[in-house]
Symmetry: C2
Subunit: 397 residues, 2 copies
């Protein structure tokens, strides 16, 4: 019989996709260039030419078996070497091939990481605001996702709440910094305090508690800074990375899981992931894309537009009287709505062809997300519209 | 804590990979061209030029967002349309976009199909000889794979055993025709009888029983024939397809699941697969590969070499006195070993640099598999070696 739990999920609509659909519909009426669509986290800058050149050169020069042949389950050895070497050089952590497992972007890396360290009924804690897909990603494994309420002043970690929720069933903590949707980068203080608490909890509960660090926005950090590397602070860290945002190629489905060499069981985990993959239908990402990212391992797309957009939007929001934490990275910003009901707020914005996503989906009602991975020219045109919306609907600004 | 069941799996070695490893090692000593490596089912013919030309043209002409942007979870709409239209035209079954779910080759299609129709504890029946990965593929979902012993005379279906094993917990039957490892194509009679039995069982147990049809070898059929299309015989069929073998691109990880439009729940199943995919970390295959297979949907690599190789090997085996069913397709042949212990048989063959895989892994001890996806020139050179092995070790031939 068809499995009911998946049928039951069909009713639930994604607010983000629903809004993106509305934006597309409206675009057909008035031209999409006139819809200020801040709904989707889809990279707007092109992939680097060098990446495309790698693809074309390999297609033209490799023999068919090298080009299109099977990759070993954990990834091509030379690609895993390239990833490990890049991480080792950059973060000063001795990653080797055996710690790297190539995946179909971050979703696949997370699917393996969850299964490595949780049995059904175990708990994974994450922190609001959070990427809504974490719910099904975790809960469909049989583990349970518990969400620590947000520190809405800073969108760092609400440690009081966190410590009250940590318990013997907590097997992993799932973090996402730079963060979707807040744009906040966890400070070194935050990461250090999180690590200290987890080390204590490991002792108290006599089992490892892993940090599963979802890092697709690692390369999009503003003001010339870098995001603290979680593995450098906490041994039991499983890094989940995607090239989707850094190289602007979400459709290419390429990323990796990197196990901290100092983690408990680091020598086993990639081989365990190979076993996990047999059950979930992963047989490694496309070999061609593996080779192409390896050739361009330290490259990114021109990500500067996101900082430009952020500054334009942030300054305008502040100007209009919004309460908003300045993003340290990503292409998201997460201001407080001008009424408690952020769904109603976003509904009103739609009348102005401003597509904003209510914070409810992210575990932070009362806020809204703007994904500013759009052309700067459009951001500039949207600002007077934002002002008009705020003044007309709320008499503010 | 690291999950024990995956650690427990680390001990088990794949006989096939172990043999392939030995072949590679021996190749370093005497030159790989002198190792008659019949271990791996890795396509030996090149992918069609047209496929590579599609890739290069798209990379050169599509804008970055079209080329590298997100594909919707079930696949690009135009690609699903192309797959549906090709299947509809070819098999006379009214497949539409909504029945097609693009996957990272057949392993991913199977991972979704199993989860669509089984809860933990449910049973899936398959028929020996069978692809050994079916064990972990099914059992790691929580369902249980039960193997119907082989009809070793024909490698069609052992219906007596099958009927005795069918029970109320049977939710699906997993078939693979053309078959790895036997090379046998199920006859229309076999498929008709299988369908009749399942229709009766559905009535008896008052629930649907799906055929999950794993069809990666569908295009490799000999003597100018075609393999019977399972969906044309049985409504509740979920087809799992891969382009890995037909287009010689296993590293590209591209295939699909096609739900028979007449299946119970056909209107739900692709959307259910989207939900399933959130839990197992699939977010659709690489967009570029989706587009490239759609552009070449009715094309295959030059597969004729497999038939040439099969005939050479089959004739020689018969000549040497082997009991062997003549393959109707694939690039495998599955003769009876010359002693009851096919592991010992394969060990002896290794001394002659003949790499044969014992049938034990495939649920058919006493037989051995030869994967003849290798150059014909090498097949020709291997035949006197095979004869020498047989004569020296068994005084036969």
């Amino acid at each position: 019989m068809l499995v009911q739990k998946y049928i039951d999920m069909l009713g639930a609509k994604s607010v983000i996709r629903d809004l993106a659909g509305k934006a597309a519909e409206r675009g057909k009426e008035i031209g999409y260039e006139n819809v200020f669509d801040y709904s989707l986290g889809n990279p707007s800058v092109p992939a680097p030419d060098a990446y495309n050149e790698s693809l074309v050169r390999m297609i033209g020069t490799l023999d068919s078996r090298s080009l299109h042949g099977y990759s070993p389950n954990p990834g091509l050895p030379e690609v895993r070497d390239a990833v490990a070497a890049s991480l080792a050089k950059r973060f000063g952590i001795p990653y080797k091939r055996e710690h790297i497992f190539m995946t179909s972007a971050a979703a696949s890396a997370l699917a393996h990481a969850f299964r490595l360290v949780t049995e059904p009924g175990d708990e994974i804690l994450t922190f609001a605001p959070y990427f809504p897909e974490y719910g099904p990603y975790v809960n469909l494994t049989g583990a349970v996702l518990k969400v620590v309420p947000a520190d809405t002043e800073t969108f760092q970690i609400n440690f009081t709440q966190f410590e009250s929720m940590l318990n013997e069933k907590t097997m992993a903590v799932l973090i996402n910094t730079p963060n979707n949707p807040s744009g906040v980068v966890y400070s070194e203080d935050t990461v250090r305090r999180l690590s200290d608490i987890l080390r204590d909890a490991q002792k108290k509960y006599s089992h490892p508690i892993y940090i599963i660090s979802d890092e697709p926005y690692r390369e999009i950090v503003f003001d010339g800074k870098a995001a603290p590397c979680i593995s450098a602070f906490y041994d039991n860290t499983i890094m989940c990375y995607s090239f989707s945002k850094s190289l602007s190629l979400p459709g290419d489905r390429i990323g990796y899981m990197a196990v901290n060499p100092a983690a408990e069981g680091a020598d086993l985990m990639v081989n365990m992931a190979v076993q996990i993959s047999r059950g979930i239908g992963h047989n490694c990402p496309t070999a061609l894309m593996q080779r192409a990212v390896a050739e361009n391992i330290d490259l990114t797309a021109d990500l500067s537009v996101y900082e430009t957009n952020m500054n334009l939007i942030y300054d305008k929001l502040v100007d209009l009287g919004f309460t908003v934490v300045r993003p340290g990275g990503t292409f998201y910003i997460f201001p407080k709505a001008l009424e408690a009901d952020s769904v109603a707020f976003a509904q009103k914005a739609l009348k102005y062809d401003l597509v904003l996503v209510p914070g409810d989906s992210f575990g932070a009602p009362g806020f809204f997300r703007m994904a500013y991975c759009i052309d700067t020219e459009k951001v500039v045109r949207s600002l007077p519209v934002l002002e008009k919306f705020v003044k007309e609907e709320y008499g503010a600004g």
